[in-house]
Each structure stands twice: as C-alpha cells, then as structure tokens.
Amino acid sequence: MSKFKDSAHLIRVAAVFLLGGVAFIVLRAAVIPKSFGEYGPYRGDALKEISSQPLRYAGHETCEGCHPDVLEVKSKGVHAHVNCEACHGPLAKHADDPASVVPVLPDVAQLCVRCHAENSAKPSGFPQVDAKEHAQGQSCKTCHQPHSPGFDAGGKK
C-alpha cells in the first residue's frame, strides 16, 4: 500500500476533472437546441421556420382549378406561358377565401407597357411598341384581349 501513499492527491484532481466534465456535458445538453443536427450541422427547426412562411402567390395550378374557362382561352394564345398572378398580382388570399377576397382587375394602361414598351435591351423578337404612337390614346383592351391578345384582333406585329 505504501506505493500509493499519496493517492489522495490524485483522487482530488480526478474529482475536479470529472466535475468539470459532467458540468460541460450538462451545460452542452441544456444550451444546444433539440433540433440541432437533425438534418445536418444546423438547427433543424430553422428549416421548419423558413418553410412555414405564408404564401402570397397561390400558383397558377390553383387558379386554373377554378377558372378553367380562362385557361382554355389563354392556352391557345400567345400569352399561354404567362402565369395568372404575373398580371393579376398575389392572390393566395383569394384562393383561400374566394367569396370575401375579390381581386382587383389590373389597369391595362400600366400593365401592358411593363412588358411591351419599346426598349433596346429587350430581345429583338419580343413584341414591343411605342405605346403613345401605337395606341393613339386608346386602351390596349380596345383591340387586344389580354388573355389571348392575338395579332388578328387589330394590333400589328
């Protein structure tokens, strides 16, 4: 036994280290969020928080479910690839509650020129006009039906 006569010193040091180790483990468990590491080296709940953000744009599939008549007109014209909310604005609220949230009809005077005003940076094949000269003060809707603005409706290419 004489060989370990000063072992008490070692036991005290070991106890301090053990206590430190336990304190570290307890603190670590308390501080790190439960979802950390759920999907990778980050807080898993952050993904859920980000993906729970409410929608403003319902998506054209939702619109087409209730408005197949518009889809039919649109799919035959040159605006087939333009989605509903690109012109009508965000309408997720209308999709959730169609009766009480009634969308406002967009003002064609501003809407059409957004895309079709002449600009040298636009691709050359894209139909663009000098609105003042082209429409001569008339509304675009006089000649063009926005859902299917065929060139035969009075407008020139």
């Binding site: 590491g37 759920e38 999907y39 990778g40 080296p41 980050y42 807080r43 898993g44 952050a46 993904l47 859920k48 928080e49 980000i50 993906s51 729970s52 953000q53 409410p54 929608l55 403003r56 744009y57 998506g59 054209h60 605006h79 690839h81 333009v82 989605n83 909310e85 690109a86 012109c87 604005g89 965000p90 957004r114 895309c115 005003a117 002449e118 600009n119 040298s120 940076a121 636009k122 691709p123 894209f126």
Partner: protein, 243 residues
Amino acid sequence: MTLNRRQILLLLPAAAVAWDFVLAGTPDEAPNYKTTEHWWGMLLDITKCIGCGNCVRACAMENNVPDGYFRTWVERYHVEDWHIENPSVDSPNGGKDGFPASDKTGGKNFFVPKLCNHCVDSPCTQVCPVGATFHTADGVVLIDYNYCLGCRYCIQACPYGCRFFHPQRHTAEKCTLCYHRITKGLTTACCENCPTGARQLADLKNPNDPIHAFLKTHTVQVLKPHLATGAKMFYNGLDGSVR
C-alpha cells in the same frame, strides 16, 4: 482490403457523424417532401429576359423584402464593341419599376436577372462565425435568423453581392429560393411571375425536369466560374462582359 484494429477505431467517429446525415430526411412542415431527393438550381435565360421587373416585385411581395433592398434584381448591361471588358451597368431600383428607354446608342444592351447562386461551396457559409448560414440537403443556402449575430461577414464574402442587412430584423438576409414554396411543390415567386419563362426553377435530381434537356443542348454558364463557388444559377446566352 483489410483493416487493422487501429484503422477501425479511427473510422468509428466518422461513421457516427455520417449516421446523422443518413437519418436526415423530411421536415415536418411538408410531409411528402424529402430534402435528399432534390437538388435545386435555376435556369436564367438572358435571351428571354425583357426587364419587366415582375420577378423583383413578386419576390418583394412574397418575402416581405424591405424597400430599397433586393433578394433578386435585374441589371441592364450596355456593352460597346470596342471595350467589351468595361460594360456600363444600371439597375434603377433593382429593376423593380422596369427600365426606362436607354439613352445609350451603339453597342448592345441586354438584361441580366440576378439572385443568390445557392453555391455548393458558398463563401458566405464558410465565413459565418456562428454557423448561422448553412446548406440544406437539397442544395439551398439558408440563414438561421435566431443564430445570426448580424456581423455582416457573409455580406462582404458573397462575391455576387446577393446578401443584405435587414434593417428591422438586424440579421443578414438573402434569397431562400422560396424554400416555403419549393417544399410544397410550387415554383419560386420569381419564376411563377416571369412572363417570358426567362427564369425557371430546376430540380437537378429530378430526371424528368426539362433542365436536363436544356443543359445538353445549350451553352450555359454560371457567374464568376473562376471563383469555383459551385454556383447553381445557370445563365443561357450569358455575355462575357457580365460580372
């Protein structure tokens, strides 16, 4: 291949770490969505962009982006034939209100829509001192707003200038690739509202995605490829002058 005891012991911790990633799967919010089955990118077709600003407005509306800050924006390039390395670029209010007719003559003009490139080796993620920016298993770079200290290192690190400091929340902010939409099977707000199809969300892990056919038949480029960030925003018809 034979392993001795020492090698097996060395491999054990690595296996333990890897197991967490193997178990990684589905966020509760979208029960049918598996993060490991997708790999998101986007196709931006410069030959189709008309600079209408629909994407910028839609993004601001969908994500409550404060005025004067942009998660996506559109730039107009003017390149003179004799000075291709020095284009002049303008982006009035990020292109949110469209572009007035150009007063520049000669050379060529075109629009370049920009947004977070959701890089595979993103510099912003590497510099974050608190691990608030991370990569999801489906290839999206996101920010944990609870962890972000607002130190702005990432804003400086992004070579594409895609991040900004949110004036109210006081954290870094960026494009989430509409993570709340793509996990529900919808496309992003910018792609949904692009009238010409110049922006198309692409799932590179989906073999039926039209992106694969497009990439095979077109010469696409990413921005600043020399930085090797692994950008996933593919530009069709990208001019050499674009930075």
